[in-house]
Amino acid sequence: MKKKVARVLSLALVVAMLGTTMVGCGKKDNKKNDTTTGNATETTDSTGDTAGTDSTADADKKYDKFLTVDVFATQANYQGIQSGWFAKVVKEKFNMELNIIAPNVAGGGDTLFQTRSAAGNLGDLILMGSENGRLADTAEAGLLVDMTDMVANTKYVSQFTGAIDVAKGLSNDGKLYGIPSSVSSQPATNPSEGLDLTFGTYLRWDYYKELGYPKVGTLEDLLPILKQMQDAHPTSDSGKQTYAISLFKDWDGNMMCMGKQPATIYGFDELGFVFSKADGSENQSIIDDNSEYIRVLKWYFDANQMGLVDPESTTQNYDTMYAKYQDGAVLYSPWPWLGQAAYNTVEHKEAGNGFMFVPVEDESVFSYGATPNGLAKYVVGIGSKAQDPQRMMDFIDWLYSPEGVMYSCAQTASTCGPEGLTWEMVDGRPELTEFGKEALLNGDGTVPEEWGGGSWKDGVSQLNFQTVLASDENPETGFPFNYTLWESVIELNSTPLDKDWQETNDALSTVEYLQKNNQILVAPGTDFVSPQESSEITTLRSQCKAIIIENSWKMVFAKDEAEFYSILKNMQDTVKGLGYDDVLAFDLDCAKQLNEMRDAARQ
């Protein structure tokens, strides 16, 4: 008997062992995904919304199955289920919730895309980059739905015929797999930004004022000014050490991300390893001795020699750095949406404190022109394994509707959400409500219960995908989607900080000032999407950029000038030895195409 038990037992153990070894090896196809998403599909909605508006009833009739939609969002900076007021709207209109999958949050660069595409299912909704042949490849790998016919029946998307044609041109078979972002009805030569451009030199205006608004002739002139500002205010609001400049490494791509930013005030933007000037007059190889990129690295190096660079720059991430801006521990910001967003609260502005644009005499700041055919390098598509492709199409169409734009682009594009909550029409023009002022101008606010509750900021759409350019006119109001451009909101910019800036610079906004002085260099929006590069170029590029980033950081923190130049020399030799010139030739060719398209758009 004992033996029998032992025999049975050993057999059972063998089976169990075999079983466990097999568990990890489910077939690679989508069975697994089907079962996981299948669960969500089956759960028909039983929560029963208490608010019970009409649209809920509509959504339930049209979309009777409650879905959890996987959204692969390359630009999103949030991972997980969308929450708050935007989630409530999506639930009411489409009876679904958004499960956002964000490579930015997951980290590891392209890893998430690679693994998910290898598994054959990126998600139900796919917001992705299309450069370097990626859209065509993704379509060819069978990961995207052909939207050509579906789009024909849409109310809004179907109107963007130019954008649709451009997107069709990106696929190998001429079918539509994604809809471009940032579609605009403005001419390509208009700046796409609002009151401030994407880039610029922003300093702590209150400290700058103390020095008597010294003139800034060129980029290098900023350093002595920053030095005086830092010396005069050595500690932040919370008593920490202040530094003029703080850097971070999270966004390093082709180069050290922060190494590019100051160069943009001279009209340059990156295209691979090329710094291309917006007017097409100049294309620089970034590693050349006299390139703007090296100039900026030298600028940071000099700043570091003067004790102006935060020593934690080398190890901190964006969030840590942002917290320092909020605390007033950093004095220079290369972007308005960093310094101003972090520090210019109403309270600070009322006290006359905050980041404001400081003109540099020889600058001509880079501006992204509006894109009449959309920005085809970011598209939204539907996954081939989507649970309900038609509902996805309906959702996309809503995102492109005036209402959808107002609702969904609040995170980065300054649209302001639902009418009645944050804004309302008063005497024929849109104005912010009291709640709107609190939530938008003063940072955050608690959303009323009937709109879903929670904090305003937590509830904004986390997709980070601008469907229609926010500076475009909202056909329903006759005013731009971007609330910061509304007359009524500009009138609110009357804090001592704004007043002082406006009087000093004799303009109402940064863009107005730059336009008056002819210091904006608009790169007209084009249909350019960088073409497929060969795998050797990709590999060489990744090897070279690793070297460039590594050495750029070393250069900034070099102990003396001799070391700075020896690292530079070493970097140039190494990347050139690896095959940098092949990559550069490819990038220069792209730059040439881009410039030709920009020239065409100017006419």
Partner: protein
């Protein structure tokens, strides 16, 4: 595993009379799960080596990519800079492995000394405290390191407050003594764990040897030197051989978490290089090619070590 094997064999032997299935089959069935495991996790992944011969791009299926033969292997050696990059990575790998092997006597010493502690609770305490770090992941080790050694970390703050230094000392983002730092961290993490096997070895040593030595007038240190140490040598050598064969594999996670632009020159080991090539920069074919070369060299190294072992110790390790 050895124990499991023995007892199961005993069970199998007990069943011999009644068994309809021949003994050999039964034994095979017992080994089968492990064979399957080995196949799945050691041989099946070799299937992925195919990728080294294609121009593979992420979203596409392998069948949609072009077959390019040995292109990526040639790529690695196509110009002097590529080769020097690879050599730099190999240099780091060899240096770190060599340092680990050179210091592999530390757990032996530690175990011997630990064994000499007579106060039982103290001995247990020390052993627990030194074994514990082994179970902390490298990510957490790094966060500890960051809290202690970053520019505003504890060490810098203390040094500045008591007036030893005025400027911050850059521990993490500098290239000074990177290899030694890494060795220090891995020793801190692995010392206690590494000594467990030796402690077991000591426990298994025949007590009569000690008694005889004591009768002959040996003191504590003589016992350690002439009884304990020789008893541990076989174990030490087997582990040493194994680590020699693993010369090129010194893991990824430790170097991954500690790496930054400033120490990359000396911290980038082969595994980290392969990871960065493949996962973060989309060059899976090249990364696979490097990985294959690594496996090849490892197999060669193992054979050499095995041969040397046969010649010197009279027994092979396989």
């Amino acid at each position: 595993m050895g124990n499991t094997g023995k007892s199961s064999t005993a069970v199998a032997v007990g069943q011999k009379k009644k068994a309809a299935i021949p003994m050999g089959v039964k034994l095979f069935l017992l080994v089968l799960p492990f064979l399957v495991l080995v196949f799945l996790f050691s041989y099946y992944p070799l299937n992925g080596w195919r990728y080294a011969f294609y121009d593979y791009r992420a979203p596409l299926d392998l069948s949609q990519c072009e077959f390019v033969g040995f292109k990526w292997f040639k790529f690695l050696f196509q110009n002097p800079t590529q080769v020097s990059q690879l050599l730099k990575v190999l240099r780091n790998t060899f240096a770190m492995s060599a340092l680990t092997i050179v210091t592999s006597f530390l757990p032996v010493i530690f175990a011997i000394f630990l064994n000499e502690i007579k106060c039982k609770w103290f001995k247990t305490l020390v052993q627990t405290l030194t074994t514990l770090p082994n179970f902390i992941s490298w990510v957490l080790v790094y966060s500890v390191a960051f809290a202690l050694f970053s520019d505003t970390g504890m060490v810098n703050t203390v040094l500045q407050n008591i007036g030893i230094t005025t400027d911050v000392v850059k521990f993490l983002d500098s290239d000074a003594h990177t290899w030694l730092w890494m060795l220090a961290w891995s020793t801190w993490k692995g010392l206690g764990w590494g000594s467990i096997m030796y402690l077991a070895g000591i426990a298994g040593t025949d007590q009569e040897l000690y008694e005889a030595a004591r009768v002959d007038g040996a003191g504590r240190f003589k016992l350690m030197r002439h009884i304990t140490l020789p008893a541990l040598m076989p174990t030490f050598f087997v582990l040493l051989m194994m680590s020699l064969a693993n010369f090129l594999t010194n893991g990824l996670d430790q170097y991954f978490v500690f790496s930054n632009s400033f120490n990359m020159e000396h911290i980038q080991v082969l595994d980290l290089y392969v990871y960065k090539l493949g996962m973060s920069s989309n060059s899976i074919p090249l990364a696979t090619a490097v990985g294959m070369l690594k496996s090849l060299i490892s197999v060669i190294l193992f054979c050499v070590v095995n041969f040397v072992s046969k010649k010197t110790r009279g027994e092979s390790i396989m």
